[in-house]
């Protein structure tokens, strides 16, 4: 056989024909649309596909667009609050459910915490629309609170997972030693558990932040009039002619996500 085909490369156990090409195609396909989106945010013309020269005018247009700035600030505040709340309660829940002997209800707690990962967003959105609409009518209160509560809820499992993972990898000897030396529960938590757990908590908070910033479906159903976030604003723009202004906004939002995700990887990597 080998003689028939002439010189042949050394036989590789791992080689499968075509796999490398498909993999390369995947990487190109994953990045090409995003790169094109970013490139055209610098386009001078008003159409997305025709390149008319470099310009920052769409960034300036977005910056001067009050609706965009308003939505951006609301998105960031919402993501910050949702990440803060979900991380605090997820940390507590992680401590209450990890490194403990099994007790009645532990499985139910796990199921409840992971439930937002399973239920389709549209179903949660509809459910919150129904419930919050009734509450809004009953109380007359239309505020930002509903969005914060909704976002905090679906962020909990994302904050919980890295914290729990970190906690599982910590052994109890240090805490036991502290307790043996008459440190109070709170002291042990403050001086031993919390510092050791901190990378997990940071990772959970960043994940929650990105997930909240990303959300469009649940927000769309929960928001009251005048409570646009950046993603719902962008979705609304679809009905009009799309200009590169959308690309400029997207590029900025991409940068924010990328920054947070890179931080996340740095924080989680350091733990080993």
């Amino acid at each position: 056989m080998t003689a028939l085909f002439g010189k042949r490369k050394k036989f590789s156990l791992r080689h499968q024909p075509g796999f490398t090409s498909i993999a390369m195609a995947c990487f190109v396909l994953l990045y090409a649309p995003i790169i094109i989106l970013v490139i055209y945010s610098f386009n001078e013309g008003r159409y997305i596909a025709v390149w008319e020269g470099f310009s920052l005018q769409w960034y300036i247009a977005a910056w001067n667009n009050e609706a965009v700035i308003d939505a951006t600030l609301r998105s960031l505040l919402l993501a910050f609050l949702a990440a803060l709340i979900s991380t605090v309660v997820a940390t507590m829940a992680a401590i209450g459910t990890t490194r403990t002997s099994p007790y009645r209800g532990l499985t139910s707690i796990h199921t409840l915490i992971n439930q937002p990962l399973i239920v389709p967003e549209i179903v949660t959105g509809v459910a919150l629309l129904i419930v919050f609409a009734a509450v809004k009518v009953a109380t007359g209160f239309q505020g930002f609170f509903y969005l914060v509560l909704a976002h905090a809820a679906f962020c909990i499992p994302f904050a919980y997972l890295p914290i729990r993972a970190r906690l599982e990898g910590m052994d109890k000897t240090l805490e036991t030693a502290a307790a043996d030396l008459y440190a109070s529960r709170w002291m042990t938590f403050r001086r031993i558990t919390l510092p050791l757990l901190w990378p997990g908590i940071l990772a959970g908070a960043m994940l929650a932040f990105v997930i909240s910033l990303d959300n469009v479906v649940i927000t769309e159903f929960v928001k009251s009039a005048g409570q646009e976030t950046l993603p719902t604003y962008m979705l609304g723009q679809l009905r009009r002619v799309i200009t590169p202004e959308i690309n400029a906004i997207s590029t900025v939002l991409l940068l924010i996500s990328l920054l947070v995700v890179s931080l996340y990887f740095i924080v989680t990597r350091k733990r080993t």
Binding site: I22, A23, C26, P33, V89, A90, I109, S257
Partner: protein
């Protein structure tokens, strides 16, 4: 006795620690789902909302429609078309992401260990960037004035743009693009633990490359394949943004039909019944998944 009391105290402390999270989840995630179930058995209000009167109508109209003139009941073609589109497009997306994702996971798993994290990072990054933005990016590539059509026309291959946007194909391309990392990651996780001595043994026994792939590698990484398929299929079934942006309101999927009932359709009970239907479909997929993994674990023991 003393240790019993200690243990009781510990359990109570654990419950107290979980309570704030549970309150938030029950009030803004799990609890409202029960309300949806209740609403699906009520009568629609004239301007949206509901009238508190029991009715099966919403559930009947998930699949059937009542003729306005003679009250006869027939199968609702429109709803079935949308249900079928949701299921078939999700299945097709799962297959395509597998065809693309399996070789990609294999590629990453066969890199030298110190390079694997970089490739993995490259797969993960798009996954953490905004879903809406990624869908917009696809929109700009495939639309009539988009990059593909403009390039093809400039090269003289076609004269009029190919209409991809607002078709089922567009939705499938979008979902494949968005969910591909969800297929690659679990397959990679299985593949990383693959013992290549088994592959070597198969070659020693004169297996061809294709045989090694299908009879050795695929069965060994099957848990990853099943997990990846579920991770792609389940969110595809409930996807909302992709058909909204790339289907342009013409090609609806289940979630868009649900939204319609709460908007211009003004039929909240039907929307609620459709939501429960979607949730039930997701549950069925998950139960099948759990059954398969349990059976596999049982047989491998």
């Amino acid at each position: 006795m003393a240790s019993d009391q200690l243990r009781k105290g510990e359990v109570r402390r654990n419950w107290l620690l979980s309570t704030p999270a549970l309150i938030i989840l029950l009030s803004a995630a799990s609890g409202p789902l029960l309300v949806v179930l209740v609403y699906s058995f009520l009568t629609p209000g004239e301007y949206g909302g509901v009238v508190w009167q029991f009715s099966w109508d919403a559930w009947i109209s998930v699949i059937f429609e009542r003729d306005i003139f003679d009250d006869t009941i027939s199968i609702a073609d429109a709803h079935l078309t949308i249900l079928w589109r949701s299921v078939s497009l999700s299945l097709m997306t799962t297959v395509v992401t597998f065809i693309l994702g399996f070789p990609t996971a294999y590629f990453i798993a066969t890199r030298p260990p110190q390079n694997r994290n970089l490739w993995l990072f490259l797969i993960t990054i798009p996954f953490w960037t905004n879903l809406l933005i990624r869908t917009f990016a696809v929109l700009e590539v495939i639309r009539n004035e988009g990059v593909i059509n403009t390039a093809l026309i400039a090269m003289g291959i076609i004269e009029t743009p190919i209409q991809i946007l607002y078709t089922d194909t567009a939705i499938m391309i979008g979902m494949t693009y968005v969910y591909l990392p969800l297929m690659v990651l679990p397959i990679y996780a299985s593949m990383e633990r693959l013992n290549f001595n088994l592959v070597e043994a198969a070659y020693d026994l004169y297996a061809t490359r294709l045989k090694v792939l299908w009879r050795v590698i695929v069965p060994l990484v099957k848990p990853g394949i099943v997990a990846g398929s579920i991770l792609v299929f389940v969110p595809s079934l409930g996807t909302f943004v992709t058909p909204r942006v790339l289907g342009g309101g013409k090609k609806l999927m289940l979630s868009n039909l649900i939204e319609l009932q709460f908007g211009s359709g003004r039929n909240w009970p039907l929307g609620a019944a459709l939501s429960i239907t979607l949730l039930a479909m997701v549950m069925v997929a998950l139960i099948i998944y759990i059954r398969t993994t349990q059976r596999d674990q049982a047989t491998s023991k």
